[in-house]
């Protein structure tokens, strides 16, 4: 069949381009109330008093929630009051919620709430946070309730420590003839999903809790609300319509909790909460910052021998996903290279910054920036072409990962081929730097990437297939359609399996935790693998049922039957068979007897052989497969002004079998754009008091149309044997090497090593003028 690989237009496309697609905030109902948060204006402060008296007087205000001590929340450490009490720990922290008859009344009243703060000393970076003299963001971190295996260090700002101990680091340094050691850093930033977060909550008289939310993790909303507030899990029903971009930011559970508390405050009435952009930027979880020290060593020939890495993940004021993020930093703590001796300490560190959610790539773009920059610095010291250094060390089947997984072709893909292809596409042999004239140069930088997922071993996905009377299919999956087109790809897979047209597979877009089988979370580029396997299992289950009935009718063995074009027929005599519509709601014999009944296909998938990491060495299997790649960025750099234009961004990614070509192209290109924004411009700018000075799109600017380079994307298709049709994850990989490749190209162009993001002209100027 021809469904796989084809650029099938996504099923929700027409709704989206005509503006008819509905997102959470588009839903309204009679009697709905509206919640509005009040957020802190300080980085760290004691709350002396919250005066709500003026706000309460505003007609239409139904409730104000402030100063109340609710159960602590947080994914691995319960360290976060949903609404601040006693003190606030970051600029943007929620200090109160107003619930009112209309959004404007709620907003007006919110501006009338006066919080009296006493500012406290601020922890303004992870490096400051780990100093002995640093103020403590949490006084009692060791006393919080936490998951097993999480190890906060008492009376410090360290929420967790993940260790990688591979080989013998001393031996590695003994074998290293050339070494480099550098510090790198970048501040927190944000995802800037086009749809700001929104959540609607209602508590029914019978205690059922209905949540509608723009979430990548509706099943997690249910699970966490249940755990945090001790509610029977079946009473929580979460509904998620289309989501207008997630990028990891909507995998954290935050606004849902506030909507629930707001509804509770008004006797369970429906309350809608919607972030304005400022709140979405700093109040809801953001993208982590990082301080890193990277030391790598190799032989004179450029064979990598040792890597010693310290990662201080800026976990902001609350640890939530930061612990997991810091663990992911450790798991793929190097680039995709064979390195026998690795020592990595990755810490989740509290600061007085907004706290992070996952971000597309889940720590990999962050680690790749620092590691791939170090690779270039090492290459310069070796006087070796940086592409050649990477080619020499590219990880191969038979090598082991930092967590000591022995790799094979299926699990790791083909890094050397990606490097080879990107070398051609970028005309690397022209030279890394070309002088245009006295003022301008063109320069290229390369980065290699890899990514596995680090999702929990028990994560699973389920799919149900039902039929319509005409023999077409309905596909029901817990994957949230966050703009990646995954649900369309699932339909392609099922259509392929049934050998029918993708148009005849209908997809349910909304996820309803009561009616949709669970998909753990729509994150980590896991939709095509996990939901894909579940979909194929459901298809197989349905086909077996159809065969069973048809075999009786046709008086043949089930295994002599095949399906195609909504028919079931005898392999040897395709003309002998039945239309699906004759079977899928039961087969009726001419005399009226019926057998069968409606066919319901069910399938699930759980990751195989994924393990926890050994707490002392990090040894363990983090996830099913690595998608790998090599990327080049080419810039035109103005040596007089330190400004630059990005001319080209090139990705060669081994994403296994490409399931939907233009869909994949869109994912990769979009991810590259996001990576260039993160690398080149986007960051929060903090003042000395830890306040974010640019919490608006006026001053926090993602890449805009017209600023983009020429994108060149090619694929290598090394199959991942376990995955449907051999596909690998593709939603994040395009982003991973962009900041690093940009940094590498600019370091060459400017003739100065660059260690910090974002790579704005002023910081290149400062490095350069600072030195000369």
């Amino acid at each position: 069949m021809t469904n796989i690989g084809k650029s099938v237009i996504r099923k929700e496309a027409e709704d989206k381009v005509t503006g008819r697609a509905k997102y959470t905030a588009d839903y309204s109902s009679v009697g709905m109330l509206f919640g509005k948060t009040v957020i802190s204006k300080h980085g760290h402060a004691r709350i002396n008093n919250i005066d709500v008296s003026e706000a309460e007087k505003v007609p239409g205000v139904r409730a104000i929630v402030a100063g109340e001590r609710f159960p602590l929340t947080g994914e691995e450490i319960r360290d976060r009051p949903p609404i601040a009490v006693d003190k606030i720990r970051y600029h943007g922290e929620v200090t109160a919620i107003v619930v009112a008859d209309s959004p404007s009344i709620a907003k007006k009243a919110a501006t009338l709430i006066h919080v009296d703060y006493v500012p406290l000393p601020v922890v303004n970076s992870p490096r400051e946070a780990v100093k002995k003299s640093a103020p403590l963001v949490h006084e009692n971190v060791a006393l919080y309730e936490k998951d097993e295996g999480v190890n906060p260090i008492p009376e410090s700002n360290i929420a967790n420590h993940t260790k990688i101990r591979k080989g013998n680091i001393k031996k590695g340094w003994d074998q290293s003839e050339v070494t480099v050691e550098n510090n790198f850093s970048f501040p927190p930033s944000d995802h800037i999903a086009m749809e700001t977060r929104s959540a609607i909550a209602e508590i029914k008289p019978n205690g059922d809790i209905h949540i509608k939310t723009s979430s990548q993790a509706p099943f997690m909303v249910k699970e966490l609300l249940s755990a945090y507030f001790n509610i029977e899990v079946g009473k929580i029903i979460v509904d998620t319509p289309l989501v207008g971009g997630g990028y990891g930011g909507k995998a954290s559970v935050q606004l849902e909790i506030l909507a629930y508390l707001a509804s509770k405050a008004v006797g369970g009435r429906v309350v809608k909460m919607m972030n304005e952009r400022e709140e979405d930027l700093i109040s809801s979880p953001c993208h982590m910052g990082l301080d890193a020290t990277v030391k790598i060593g190799c032989t004179k020939e450029g064979i990598l021998k040792a890597a010693e890495l310290t990662y201080l993940v800026d976990s902001g004021a609350y640890s939530d996903k930061a612990i997991h993020l810091s663990r992911a930093c450790a798991v793929d703590c190097t680039g995709p290279y064979r390195i026998d001796h690795i020592w990595c300490d990755s810490y989740a560190v509290y600061t007085n910054h907004p706290y992070p959610a996952p971000y597309r790539g889940f720590s990999h773009a962050e680690v790749h920036f620092v590691f791939e920059r170090a690779m270039d610095i090492l290459a310069r010291k070796l006087r070796m072409d940086p592409l050649e250094l990477r080619r020499k060390n590219a990880i191969l089947p038979g090598d082991t990962s930092p967590t000591q997984v022995v790799l094979n072709r299926s699990t790791v893909g083909d890094v050397p081929q990606c490097i080879e292809k990107v070398k051609e596409l970028s005309r690397w042999n022209e030279g890394q730097i070309i002088e245009v004239d006295k003022r301008y140069v063109r320069a290229k930088g390369i980065a290699c990437v890899w990514k596995n997922s680090t999702i929990p071993p028990e994560s699973s996905s389920g799919v149900v297939i039902t039929f319509n009377e005409d023999g077409t299919l309905n596909l029901i999956s817990g994957v949230v359609e966050i703009g990646t087109g995954t649900k369309t790809v699932l339909a392609q897979m099922v259509a392929e399996y049934f050998r029918m047209d993708t148009n005849d597979v209908y997809v349910r877009m909304n996820v309803d935790t009561q009616a949709t089988p669970e998909h753990w979370k729509t994150v980590a580029s896991r939709g095509t693998l996990m939901a894909g396997r579940a979909a194929l299992a459901a298809a197989e289950d349905a086909i077996n049922q159809i065969k069973d009935i048809a075999s009786r009718v046709l008086k043949v063995r089930p295994d002599d039957l095949e399906v195609g074009n909504r028919r079931i027929f005898l392999r040897e005599e395709p003309n002998r068979g039945l239309d699906f519509k004759e079977v899928v709601y039961g087969y009726t014999y001419p005399e009226g007897n019926a057998i069968g009944g409606q066919i319901i296909g069910r399938g699930n998938y759980i990751l195989r052989n994924v393990t926890h990491l050994d707490p002392e060495t990090g040894k363990g299997n983090p996830g099913p497969e690595w998608a790998v790649g090599a990327q080049v960025v080419e810039v035109e750099f103005d040596r007089r002004d330190y400004t630059y234009r990005i001319l080209k961004a090139i990705s060669v990614l081994d994403i296994g079998k490409v399931l939907n070509y233009k869909g994949a192209l869109g994912q990769v290109t979009g991810a590259m754009c996001m990576g260039l924004g993160f690398g080149g411009r986007e960051s929060f700018i903090f003042d000395q008091q830890g306040r974010v000075l640019n919490p608006q799109l006026r001053t926090y600017r993602p890449v805009q149309f017209g600023e983009q380079p020429e994108y060149i994307v090619e694929f290598v298709e090394t199959p991942h044997i376990d995955a449907p049709f051999g596909a690998r994850g593709a939603g994040e990989q395009g982003l991973l090497g962009m900041p690093a490749a940009l940094g590498n190209s600019l370091s060459v162009a400017a003739g100065v090593e660059l260690f910090h993001l974002p790579l704005i002209p002023e910081s290149i100027w400062a490095e350069k003028e600072g030195r000369e």
């Binding site: 404007s104 501006t111 007089r640 002004d641 000075l693 001053t699 017209g706 002023e762």
Partner: protein, 279 residues
């Protein structure tokens, strides 16, 4: 969302607008004239701007004028920046205007709104400062026509109840060689680190600057140095920069030092481009 209610009026004549202002002001409604409305929305929603009544002046025909009259170009204060660009009656203004905000916003932002903005860049004023344009201002005491360089000092100096109706520019200024360079923190979107507009009248170079200080300005002293022929181009620019007052911005767009670094190179580009035309 704007968290306060306000009254909206759309008068159709200047006198009606002024009368409304007087009445609303007397009623304590703190009225503001409203043109494109972008600031009322963007600053209103974050409680930086507050009013109980807006007077939309877009319905006043004089404010919509874009035409030559007796040889001079008249531009109404309610022309949108996109109108200005599309008609392209004043090339330097087109060049400056095109770099303000983005196209979608410029379909709303008006000439008068930008010149009288709360946001301090007010880049659309630069060409008029260079062209010694005249402004027609209406208010409770009738009309007045003034040279913009007399009445624009960081902001357009309006009396209470006054508003900008038109800008009048002479044709020789419109046809003179000109250039506008906007430099940003990164790439092609965002506020200026500096925007410099330059105009050459005969042998005289004029420059006006936005983004360097928290207001746009044209400095005669800087122009004096730039035009003093006894020194090299570089020295003239150094001297001109020496006259920049101490009010250089140091904010999220860039530090003061970096702004001055960028300004130096930008001035060099402006002056060498304009002087190049002499050759």
């Amino acid at each position: 969302m704007i968290p306060f209610d306000f009254e909206y009026y759309r008068p159709e004549s200047i006198s009606e607008a002024v009368q409304l202002f007087i009445e609303l002001d007397q009623a304590g409604k703190n009225p503001v004239y409203f043109s494109g409305g972008t600031e009322i929305i963007t600053l209103g929603r974050i409680n930086v701007l507050y009013t109980n009544a807006v007077i939309d002046i877009k319905g006043i025909p004089e404010c919509q004028v874009m035409d030559y009259h007796e040889g001079n170009l008249y531009l109404g204060s309610c022309c949108t920046l996109v109108d200005i660009e599309e008609k392209n009656l004043f090339p330097l203004l087109t060049a400056t205007s095109k770099e303000v905000a983005d196209h979608t916003a410029r379909t709303k932002i008006t000439l008068g709104g930008n010149i009288c903005a709360n946001l301090f860049y007010r880049e659309a004023v630069l060409p008029f400062l260079l062209a010694d344009s005249q402004v027609i201002i209406a208010g409770p005491n009738g009309y007045r026509t003034e040279y913009i360089n007399q009445v624009f000092n960081q902001t357009l100096q309006l009396e209470r109840g006054e508003f900008l109706v038109q800008l009048i520019t002479e044709p020789d200024k419109i046809e003179a060689p000109s250039i506008n360079i906007k430099r940003r923190r990164q790439w092609t979107t965002g506020y200026p680190l500096v925007t410099v507009a330059g105009l050459k009248l005969g042998e005289e170079i004029r420059v006006a600057i936005s983004g360097l200080c928290p207001y746009p300005f044209r400095s005669q002293k800087m122009e004096y140095y730039i035009n003093s022929q006894d020194f090299s181009q570089r020295d003239r620019i150094e001297k001109a920069l020496g006259d920049v007052d101490g009010n250089v911005l140091n904010d999220t767009e860039g530090s003061d030092k970096y702004r001055l670094f960028i300004l130096r190179n930008t001035m060099l580009d402006i002056v060498s481009t304009l002087e190049g035309e002499r050759a």
